[in-house]
Subunit: 455 residues, 2 copies
Amino acid sequence: MSNKSFSLSGMPDLSSIEVKKREYVLNVMKKIFEKYGFQPLETPAIEKREVLIGNYGSDADKLVYQLLKSGDFLSKVDSQLLNSDYNTLSSVISDKALRYDLTIPFARYISKNQSSINFPYKRYQMQKVWRADRPQKGRLREFTQCDADIIGSDSHWLEIDLIKVYDEVFFDLGLENVILKINNRKILEGLFKIFSSDLKFTEFCIALDKIEKKGKNYFIDFLKKNKVSKKNILLFELLLKQSISINDLDSFFSKKIKSKNDFIDQGVSDTIAVFSRLGNLKCLKIEFDLSLARGLNYYTGLIFEVLNSKVSIGSIGGGGRYDNLTSIFGKNIGSGAGISFGLERIIICLNELNLFPKFLYDSLDVLFVNLGDKEAILSQNYIDKLRSFNYSCELYPDNIKLKKQLSYANKRNVRYIAIIGEDELKSNKITLKNMSNGDQHKLNFNDLINFFKNE
Amino acid sequence: MSNKSFSLSGMPDLSSIEVKKREYVLNVMKKIFEKYGFQPLETPAIEKREVLIGNYGSDADKLVYQLLKSGDFLSKVDSQLLNSDYNTLSSVISDKALRYDLTIPFARYISKNQSSINFPYKRYQMQKVWRADRPQKGRLREFTQCDADIIGSDSHWLEIDLIKVYDEVFFDLGLENVILKINNRKILEGLFKIFSSDLKFTEFCIALDKIEKKGKNYFIDFLKKNKVSKKNILLFELLLKQSISINDLDSFFSKKIKSKNDFIDQGVSDTIAVFSRLGNLKCLKIEFDLSLARGLNYYTGLIFEVLNSKVSIGSIGGGGRYDNLTSIFGKNIGSGAGISFGLERIIICLNELNLFPKFLYDSLDVLFVNLGDKEAILSQNYIDKLRSFNYSCELYPDNIKLKKQLSYANKRNVRYIAIIGEDELKSNKITLKNMSNGDQHKLNFNDLINFFKNE
């Protein structure tokens, strides 16, 4: 068995430093979420199959991990079903599935607890999700999503707080060159109405959203194929050509779109209402991007996408305004807004830009080497004392060659080693050696804590 | 769809206060694990099916959640297999499974990274595990395990540190009446040798371990059924009757067991070596319990089990010394020792004993009520300032009836509400109301932070 790989691709083990990096980023987010009044929620990894399958669209459904029923899953399956297609069979032998995102479980939670939840309800949720996807850089099959949502209000203050959360999180992480791309679904809907073709709005959005990957011509060809009039195609080419400042949004659209269009007017005034009240941001640069449409069907107002312009990893966050999030569970809670952070991609950015603090790499304050039983027992007194002041330390458990113990200490990235040998037993002192500069100190029991406090 | 339950039993949603309680306990553990030199590890929720199925025994195997292969899982299944039993079929249509505990994934991780790991390797791991079990009090189908292990040394200092970790964690949580039951597999093995019946050692241990639930007679009957001699059954009755102090362990066994028995001698001296070096414990009471055998097959030396004598929830932790943890992966890393905490049961104890700190229940420092656009915009200035000092606050997003906003604040458990209305706009002050005692203060912008600092 020994030469086989027992690991799955796209499902990484996280070593000590990797866990610490994740925790560092999660703690920054958590602190800011809570400062903004968001409260934590956790939902289980496993949901009923019907909660997940059928709610993401057929492409995404394929990426949902389904669980076999426990026990004899065949007992109630008739043999005809066994020979049907795998989709039908899976709906019979599987009744549970693994969380694919945090949005549907959140919607299920709200629907279930609608009568006891205090609206407007603000929650953040930082949990793993699983997708049977092809692994690639920045895309794993197990990864952590970090979402914050407010539900139960159509006030613009929701979007304002969410943008500020983005701004503060990226600022606290030391990330510069962060761009928040925004667009408004209402503006897109208004433009779409002008076309009056056979196109569906979602198809239009999906094609528009592909501009970044496939270029503008792809989208123009798409419009042509769908019999959009030449005049309107020209209009769209014009709109996409220009970069649009948010301050000029109103005059830009009233110049370009001659006919009165309530959707565009509403979208523009919504967008301006948010941006006029944002105040000074710490690090975000905001860009209006008419081609931003985001695949998800549920956004209805402002849409966000966050990128780092220095690291080409794609979006590191996204979100927007939505209505009727809970409608698939037969409830209507009203409007809400939310954002999401992509933890793994943010970590890639921080790694590439060398932004993780150095202290994360320290693994131990003091390693006491083990030079014999008597020495080890005395070491324990020092260790107990250091630990009582919350310094991390340990005794090397075995009395083996010093060289081996020092090699362990080196690999382990310990800050100090402490030695109690024959000399130290006699003098009742320990020798403390700084592993980064080699400095040595002889200390007695009482001086030990002072040494660390003054360090 | 609206009257249906979309939730799964034994897989709870965790509301804000429940998440905070869990985080509180996990942070206490984390701090102490790291103080003792343990480093974090995380492994993925999903493992290859073969890593899990077959390694826990057939009873536990049934509780492992298996994942259906992605895509057309039937394409390579011949029709005969389809009609075979569900176990055979599942091994063909499933190739992944959900983590059942943290031990096997840990063993897989070590086997995989054997050449790069710095031994003795100390890791802690606090992650969810899933079991298709019948839910009951203190037993869920999704729950968190918290493990700490040291691997690559047979020194007694391992057990000493692990017992101290238990002691410090329970002390920091404020739990009194915590009993650490211990036994030693070597002592049990020695006793077992004396019997020389047809019994297997594991069967003997399993029966012994059931004494707590089924009583001593169950075990004595079991010995009789398995043709253990009368003399030896009498001996065992005698052994089980007496409570054994660890200090008297040596004399106890040398008195009772007349013949020379290396296993017992070794077990006794191992146990004493650990307990003679423990020093003063903060809250643990240690009891030697000869009937403690723990079901798991892999323990080879000292075994632990932790209980709270005031809350009848069963064990809140357990662990012990083991050898060859990684042998199922074809590697031999040598001896190790580990402990585990049962997070959910510890939370039940802390709840029943009312030991969670009160601050966990605060959800927001200040809620600013919304009395209109102008007022809200001014409120934002105060909110920005408070947030810059890390106080948590929010603006009620909508300008609705004050009564409704105050009712929201009440349900939300906010500490203060801040009011900016007409008067306050004129006087350039805010009214801050303490929600627990009703005290009101009029404060200007500059006094706000001082007020909170002096609170």
